[in-house]
């Protein structure tokens, strides 16, 4: 397993970025956590619908998304808001989707991020098609796609890996293996020793990285993106991580996992290890931490305000995004819906 920073914050490999950039990464991770905790709170207040927390997975998301360039494609699932906004997706739109309107699914034209996929596993194929299309069109754009360990049991995961291998699609598959698929532990999801090992069967490299080590994640993803950009094909990255909270705001993890397990993973917190490192390097102070949290809170609050201003579509507008041009049959139904 690739590790550059130990849980105690000691450097055991080559740091992939300079100290200033490392501090920026830390800032993004603090911001992600601030957002995530706010998400849980908003759900409790009934201001957003079901929320899928990602506390613990900040390094896996920030460390991968930061390696992309603006024209690259991102195909997320539902647990990657941090990756999405790192790639330009407006935070208020992420929140708007959570509030329950498709208006959140439409980022600005320059932001190449698909709306997050809810059916597990199926979206990875789209990343393969996107990456292949870019190659056909002579660009070096790549596509990155995110999914959990549970998703690797779905048939579409295998079809996506297989197509990507055959067509040498510039696609980076990022499995955020957070240990659980709702209540099913990884060990009952697959008999394979690692998920990264599955890459072999599809003719691509599989890389196991410490997903709570943002340096390791960044190094592995940079290499995979460079490989994809150079036309050398896809890579599967397994970022070994853990979700500290429930699967979603509707479930109770106490039913399936122990406090000991949780405590063990707390020790490996991605934020804490980078903090320790930065502190040792003289780049972290409690004042800075407080400032990051204050700024982060304000930024999230602004996004929430904007999200709450986004109006849902009307009965009639429900029809307007079904087709480029509405057929007569739908025009009739539209009129009926508007009358009510």
């Amino acid at each position: 397993m690739l590790q550059i920073l130990t849980p105690r914050g000691e450097l055991v490999g080559d740091r992939p970025v300079d100290l200033d950039d490392a501090a920026d990464l830390y800032g993004e991770m603090v911001f992600a956590r601030t957002y995530d905790r706010k998400g849980v709170a908003l759900q409790k207040q009934g201001r957003i619908a079901t929320y899928a927390p990602f506390e613990g997975q900040e390094a896996a998301q920030i460390g991968t998304a930061i390696t992309l360039e603006p024209g690259d494609w991102m195909v997320p699932s539902y647990r990657e808001p941090a990756a999405m906004w790192m790639h330009g997706y407006p935070m208020e739109l992420v929140l708007a989707t959570r509030r329950g309107t498709e208006m959140g699914g439409s980022p600005p034209a320059s932001v190449r991020v698909l709306p997050p996929s809810i059916p597990v596993g199926s979206h990875m194929l789209h990343a393969v098609g996107l990456a292949w299309a870019e190659r056909l069109q002579g660009t070096d754009r790549v596509a990155i796609t995110y999914f959990g360990d549970g998703a690797t049991s779905e048939g579409d995961f295998h079809e996506a890996m297989n197509f990507a291998g055959v067509f040498k699609a510039g696609c980076v598959f990022v499995c955020q293996n957070n240990g659980w698929a709702i209540s099913l532990p990884r060990a009952e999801q697959t008999a394979a020793e690692t998920i990264a090992a599955k890459a072999v069967g599809y003719g691509m490299p599989g890389v196991l990285v410490d997903g709570n080590d943002v340096f390791a994640v960044l190094a592995a993803t940079s290499a995979a993106v460079a490989r994809a950009r150079a036309g050398e094909g896809p890579t599967l990255i397994e970022a070994l991580t853990y979700r500290m909270g429930p699967h979603s705001t509707t479930d109770d993890p106490k039913r399936y996992r122990t406090d000991d397990e949780l405590a063990e993973w707390r020790e490996r917190d991605p934020l804490e290890r980078l903090r320790r490192y930065l502190e040792a390097e003289g780049s972290w102070t409690p004042e800075w931490q407080a400032e990051l949290e204050r700024e982060g809170s304000a930024r999230v609050e602004r996004a929430v305000e904007l999200a709450e201003q986004i109006q849902p579509f009307t009965a009639g507008e429900t029809f307007d995004a079904m087709f480029a041009e509405l057929p007569d049959s739908l025009l009739g139904q539209r009129a009926m819906a508007e009358e009510l």
């Binding site: 199926s122 789209h126 098609g129 596509a143 087709f323 057929p327 007569d328």
Partner: protein, 324 residues
């Protein structure tokens, strides 16, 4: 002017689309080197190269899901699934993603793609090779579903489907691939969403599509021979349904029979009859009848004739409607 079969017309339409439109890519299982199970893509790989006529791995969900990705990035994929009975592994991609991409992104991401699939029985094929479950697709919001029954429409609808900015399910009647010939003046596009009144009459309207047009045409001939003037409507577009054309015909004749090969329950016959109730109930002089396949698995070759609506069943239903 060339006289072409449906299979030849489709091949020419694909060839023309690959020639005229740089962004078209034809993909599917065995469609390159062999030209597909029914040879619809015959010769295209040689003419347009393996980059544009692509043999894919054997994985329907993969084909459609990757095709959607291609479409999202500006390529127009025309996918072939070998038989309708093998489209079900791709059903999830079609319903969960292809059909709703535009809606869930409020037009920001769209899926201009075509999924072609041979459908229907009558050739004594193996198990899973004779399905006509078009209602499954016509039921899904966000999809267009078309079925040609003659070469001109096959070419014209395919061209329109390829140029359409939304996803189109393109059903090809296996039984008619090589049995209907027609002169094609040119490969003009035929608008999606339009039914065709293919024969004019005054006593009764026969409504059908795809492979069942064969028996329906024969029925109209037989009826004509006994002095009954049947109007024949080829529905052609199952979604959206051109109820205006269908209802106008039924209003005129006052009587109708809907004929489809698909299972009876929740088939499109039920939908068409419901819409006739909404549009022209007061013009009806008799209840509308359906002649359909049964709610059974399509039997294999030796018993298949029990399943597919026959000329006799159509004539019997027509007589009942005319007499009531």
């Amino acid at each position: 002017m060339a006289t072409l079969t449906i299979a030849q017309a489709l091949n020419q339409a694909l060839d023309a689309a690959l020639t005229d439109l740089d962004d078209v890519l034809v993909m599917g299982e065995d469609i390159g080197r062999t030209g597909g199970v029914f040879r619809i893509t015959d010769g295209l790989r040689d003419r347009h190269g393996p980059q544009r006529v692509v043999d894919t791995p054997l994985a329907e969900s993969g084909i459609v899901g990757v095709g959607l990705g291609l479409a999202l990035a500006g390529i127009r994929p025309v996918m072939e699934l070998q038989f309708m009975g093998f489209s079900y592994p791709a059903f999830d991609q079609i319903i969960s993603h292809v059909s709703r991409m535009r809606h869930r992104s409020r037009h920001r991401f769209t899926a201009p793609l075509v999924i072609r699939m041979p459908y229907g029985g009558g050739i004594g094929a193996a198990e899973h090779h004779s399905e006509s479950t078009e209602a499954l697709y016509a039921h899904i919001p966000g999809l267009k579903v078309v079925v040609p029954s003659r070469p001109g429409d096959a070419a014209g609808l395919l061209r329109a489907a390829i140029e359409d900015p939304d996803p189109v399910i393109f059903l090809e009647p296996i039984r008619l691939y090589r049995s209907v010939k027609e002169e094609l003046p040119d490969l003009a596009s035929v608008p999606l969403g339009s039914a065709a009144v293919e024969r004019h009459g005054t006593d009764i309207t026969l409504i059908a599509w795809g492979a069942m047009m064969k028996e329906t045409r024969e029925a109209a001939e037989k009826l004509a021979a006994s002095g009954i003037s049947a109007e024949v409507v080829d529905v052609r577009s199952l979604a959206p349904l051109d109820i205006t054309t269908i209802a106008a015909s039924v209003s005129k004749t006052g009587r109708a029979v809907v004929i489809h090969e698909a299972p009876r329950t929740a088939g499109l016959g039920a939908e068409i009859i419901a819409q006739l109730q909404e549009h022209c109930a007061y013009d009806l002089e008799a209840p509308v009848k359906r002649v359909t396949g049964w709610d059974t698995v399509v039997p294999l070759k030796m018993s298949e004739q029990h399943y597919t609506p026959s000329l006799e069943r159509i004539l019997a239903a027509t007589t009942e409607v005319l007499e009531s």
